[in-house]
Symmetry: D2
Subunit: 91 residues, 4 copies
């Protein structure tokens, strides 16, 4: 992760998602209508996905490009990034 500002923004987003999940717990406890609960779950999923895409962009922008410049063999780093992308696409 590059700057403290970026990290702070990311923590802020995650904190909001934590609140969304807590809100969904309340909805289930109060027996809210299934479809309304599902709408909130889909919103939290999308928010979590956006965080993942930010993290991945940051990883490519910093970690991976540093590795590319550092030496000739960056196969291990690319494999690691590709596996992370695959987990994300399949999640």
């Amino acid at each position: 992760m590059t700057t403290a500002t970026d990290r702070e923004a990311l923590v802020h987003r995650l904190h909001r998602i934590e609140g969304q999940v807590r809100g969904i717990e309340r909805m289930v406890e109060q027996d809210a209508y299934c479809i309304d609960v599902l709408t909130q779950v889909a919103a939290a999923s999308r928010a979590l996905q956006s965080v993942a895409l930010l993290l991945l962009d940051d990883h490519l922008r910093h970690c991976l490009t540093e590795a590319a410049r550092a030496g000739p063999d960056m196969d291990a780093e690319v494999t690691e990034a590709s596996q992370a992308i695959a987990r994300l696409v399949r999640s």
Copy 2:
């Protein structure tokens, strides 16, 4: 949602996801390695997806089948369920 037991189990799962998201916040604050953070984000996403699939199963099993038995016209209910599924598939 049918029984209080089902609701409780769902709240428990959501509570665990809330804890996972809080853990990811800590990781970002402590500048953990991007790929490790991403692995945890993918795990939280999958857990949220499982909750959504449980909610949807419950909706089909109870709300939708009640509607089917209640009267001849359940187009509105099916459309609502289909839109919820689409939001989920696309999230």
Copy 3:
């Protein structure tokens, strides 16, 4: 599947997707730029997903509601539909 018209529209959509996939084959054979190929793969995926959502809506609208009206026990039908939704959400 209800009407012959619905079936025909669905076959038409699938035929277009078949053409999209064939187009992607040509792009790869001609060594097109990876990002352009990926854009077309994402478009074909989305088109396939829309077909799946149409099939699912149709299933809920006809097969599942028929089952609900036919008898008291439709647990097997709901389980089957839920599993199909899960495969879709996770694919």
Copy 4:
């Protein structure tokens, strides 16, 4: 895309997906059971996703690392790759 062998393997996979989609068309024409059609659509989606992940891995391994070595400013290349990943994750 690196080698002719890699390209050939990818074309072969895409050709199989094209056949899968054609098979789904036949199923719909013959009014096969919705759930069986859906199972085949999910399988074709997953196969298409695997092709996308291979293309992305190849892009990171070759195009992006070449860019990293070529010069100091690769922001445009990373942004392009990130956008392709986002389209994939959201498709």
